[in-house]
Amino acid sequence: MKLAVALPLALVAALAFGALPLLTDSNYLVGVALSALIFTVAAAALNLVYGFTGLLSFAQLGFWGIGGYATALTVMTFGGNFWMGVVYAGLINAAVALVIGFPILRTNRHAFVIATLTFALLVALIARDWVSLTRGPLGIPNLPAPQAFGIVFDTTAKFYWIAWAFSLVMLGFLHALCSSRIGRTMVAIKQNEPLVRAQGISPMPYKLASFAISAAITGMAGGVFTFNLRVIDPLFLDFYYMQTFLIIVIIGGAGSFWGVVVAGIALSALPEVLRFSADFRMIIYGVILVVAMFIMPTGVAGWLHERQIARMRQALQ
């Protein structure tokens, strides 16, 4: 998409989303939009590692959980407030990502996938078993509503503004990053790593940076989502979240920023539309995943791009 078209469109969409609580009284609708925004941010962060840098990372789920717990614990155990909690969530995740990212990224891409998956499972186990810190399966209920400038964000509609502002900042940052020279280098690493090395660029710092940045953003998104739920327990690390992020990235088109954003908004509404039963919904998710991998492995954005190229070829002939 051309910038001249994309930017006004994005602004209009952002304002429309911002105005949503004014347009409707339905808490349900605002709640759905709220999750859509948060999931889109988490999916866009996954897109940074997987779509741009080409590293299929399941660790996102772990970062999501660490972020949620870090934010909740900052408030409930360490006496901080929500805003500090979200910042800590980002910092802790970035630090964890750097520490585990270095050894994992030294391995080949096969081992990377499994090692990141293992990390996510380890985080889930810690959340369940380190009872003195996380209170185990009971979780931490009754998280207080965040406050700022004398406003208490205690209703869904008010909390929605936080999620809205957060997602705008994060998506804006990710867009700036992805369209910068750094973003292009990441794509180059995904497409041809030996060539990147031959150009005198060391891939490691870029991979590590994309892993850590996406970890920080995923963690902050997890922190905000926790306070939307008002409770955190080990179910926050359910594999369901990872599957949702993955499906958004794949349907949208890995490596396409706007594709993933649009898919994030559209697909987050999907579980609400598919309100049959949890099992049936998951079966449909699975089918979507398998079918999408076969008929359009590059997602909707990739499919549109291919059609555009085909049309240009035809015009040339």
Binding site: V113, T118, L122, I126, D279, V287, I288
Partner: protein, 295 residues
């Protein structure tokens, strides 16, 4: 401290029995990775299907252990065949990430279809051996564990002989070692890959059937096992079958010892901590990959 020695020996034997079952799963994963360079995320679901098959076949067979196990193995091999023909055969050799996402989707579908049909209620499986055990001195091990470990050993023996001495096994090793050269001498990768998937599925079915009288059978049982098996194939070195077996038995022992002496929480976490430590020290796994040599 004689009691401690007996306790330790008991834990060790249990650990070996557990490790052999892990090894069955990990070997299947390694075999498929060696031949196709893909990771089968739905491998744990094959194990779960094997356990369910055992669970339903046993009452029909009048609680006879061996025929029910044969049914379970055949059922999972059939599933492996269908999965290969429908999904995996369409993958090209260098589509690792795509293979993961496709088999992940498949795993989601199988788990939730099973849960939809049979509900998530855990099932106890009773066999002709019940909870009888064999007693050596003051050590007691249930027959189902002994048989599970024994059939795993027989399966490894069979696998070794097959990979070493049959045309079928040699073709698999050839593809794993050098795909292009194997193509040049007329080996058909599609057939070999299909055989490898069926074989791995059968091993998984055996593991599922052997586990079902020991553990509760639920649609989620495969997920716990498979995540451990993933870590094991990394520790052993991807595609390295003896490495995977060694890592699996080692893990069975470590888990059993930890379970006996420390808090239970550490038991589950051990494999993941070990894996991260191994990746720090040896990024290619403890045993470097050398084709698919067995023995």
């Amino acid at each position: 401290m004689t009691i401690d020695a007996v306790y330790l020996l008991q834990l060790t034997l249990n650990g070996i029995a557990l490790g052999l079952l892990y090894a069955l799963i990990a070997v299947g994963l390694s075999l498929i990775f060696g031949v196709m360079e893909i990771i089968n995320f739905a491998h744990g679901e094959l194990l779960m299907l094997g356990a369910f098959a055992m669970c339903f076949a046993l009452p029909v067979m009048g609680l006879l252990y061996w025929p029910a196990m044969a049914v379970a193995i055949l059922a999972t091999m059939l599933v492996g065949f269908v999965v290969y023909e429908l999904l995996l055969a369409r993958l090209k050799p260098d589509e690792f990430e795509r293979s993961i996402l496709i088999t992940l989707g498949l795993s989601i579908i199988i788990i939730h279809v099973m849960q939809y049909i049979f509900t998530a209620t855990p099932r106890m499986v009773d066999s002709q051996y019940g909870f009888d055990g064999v007693e050596i001195g003051s050590i007691r091990i249930t027959w189902t564990r002994v048989i599970g470990a024994g059939s795993a050993l027989v399966a490894f023996g069979g696998l070794y002989l097959m990979l070493r001495y049959t045309q079928f096994g040699r073709a698999m090793r050839a593809i794993a070692q050098n795909r292009d050269a194997a193509l040049m001498v007329g080996i058909r990768p599609r057939i070999v890959a299909r055989n490898a998937v069926i074989l791995a599925a059968g091993l998984c079915g055996l593991a599922g059937a052997a586990i079902s009288p020991i553990q509760l059978v639920t649609p989620y049982m495969g997920q716990f096992m498979i995540f451990k098996a993933f870590a094991l194939v990394i520790i052993g070195g991807l595609g390295n079958i003896p490495g995977a077996v060694a890592a699996a038995i080692g893990l069975g022992l470590i888990e059993s010892w930890i379970g006996g002496f420390f808090e239970i929480a550490w038991q589950e976490a051990a494999v993941f901590v070990i894996m991260i430590a191994v990746l720090f020290l040896r990024p290619d796994g403890l045993f470097k990959r050398g084709g698919m040599r067995v023995g």
